[in-house]
Symmetry: C2
Subunit: 239 residues, 2 copies
């Protein structure tokens, strides 16, 4: 099931592990990673309250993370695309505080955290990389905080589309045409909106010739308009 291929041969490694490490160090890192776990749509990678053992690199497909409050309502906390690392909550509690679920068929590489910690004491650049990753996660959460607490529905949806577009481009894929891995419900929940509002905004953007939307397929026709609607500070790239 798990392939023997090295991170060296993975096209995602520049995103996932942009490290300058010696060959023998990379081999050590390679040796602790369990590659190519396959997941079906709807399958859980972990659930809230599960013991925290590993973090995971997304190799293909997409995942969402979410938590459920005791009154039963779900809160989607993030979407994870290929090359991104999921599961770094839960370090402090030794248990996951949220759940991670495949939005579509996906494969992930499992990185046992205790071994990663051990290796990080040997490879300073690896330690720095994971401090850096977590710091970036905090930054992204702060940007989301701004988005959800201050911006209009239009701005929030524009920002999400531009974020996904930028992440596609990073992998060398089209920045203008892509397929949304998540449902309207997930988008609404993540952005703190009602499903109906998301739907209405998509149709309005379409009438304004900003987007072409067909189900989950999206084409950005007028990036400038989206950038105008969305606050630039959310994006990793200039508009």
């Amino acid at each position: 099931m798990t392939s023997r291929v090295s991170c060296n041969d993975c096209s995602l490694s520049p995103i996932c592990l942009p490290l300058a490490v010696r060959a023998d160090e990379l081999e050590q890192l390679d040796s602790i990673i369990r590659r190519g776990r396959a997941m079906k749509r709807g399958e859980h990678l972990y659930r809230a309250a599960d013991p925290f053992d590993s973090v995971y690199a997304v190799r293909s497909g997409a995942l969402k993370t979410y938590s459920v409050s005791e009154d039963g309502e779900e809160q989607v906390t993030g979407f994870y695309l290929p090359g991104e690392i999921v599961g770094m909550d839960g370090i402090s509690t030794a248990h996951h505080v949220s759940s991670a679920k495949a939005l579509e068929t996906a494969t992930v590489c499992e990185i046992p955290f205790d071994r990663l910690e051990f290796l990080s004491t040997r490879i300073p650049s690896l330690q720095h990389h994971f401090f850096s990753l977590m710091s970036r996660e905090i930054q992204a959460d702060r940007e989301l905080h701004l988005l959800v607490s201050k911006k209009s529905a239009d701005d929030r949806i524009a920002a999400l589309l531009l974020s996904i577009s930028a992440r596609h481009k990073l992998r060398g894929l089209s920045a203008s045409t892509f397929r949304l891995p998540m449902s309207r419900y997930d988008i609404a929940n993540y952005l703190g909106l009602a499903v109906e509002t998301v739907s209405r905004t998509f149709t309005r953007f379409q009438q304004q010739h900003i987007l072409r939307v067909e189900g989950r397929e999206v084409e950005i026709l007028n990036r400038g308009a989206l950038c105008g609607a969305a606050p630039q500070e959310i994006l990793d790239q200039p508009c």
Copy 2:
């Protein structure tokens, strides 16, 4: 200016550095920390775009972190009370992405990050502690995300009051009577509300005998009502 006192003698060390380390290791840690930097109300600890060199432990007083979008509006991203660590954004960019400002007279201990990283390769429990701290920061941001994107104004304000109450209690102070270090404006901005809404909610809570409010002085009269209004998952302690 900076005192020679060790972390050992600091009453906040159980919150700030709950570590089981050998005496010589603690001494190493002690030696890299610059203690007792004094700050006046309104003074900046760092500003967005400043080079990232250090993280800081709050010793007394209180700070807020915030960022400013290019259209000039401020977003308050967090409040930091004694024993808490501020400045862990910016690791990935080598520059701070937000600013930190003293809400009142405060003192902080500076921890140079490059030395902390080096020491973390030597002291695994220290490395784990900082991974854990950042993980907790991510958790807190996710809870805030839920609060801001799904909950009513009442719930948001109740949750903030309960959070501050819990953090006071952790330091052995009163959980029911305390002084808010931040203005109504900061509360509103942080929670994604208008100042007027915060003000109105405080007066209504007072009419309902849930709170006694006098400027920044707050007394919680009916904790159950606050807990009922606020979602429990936000809190670190049972209601």
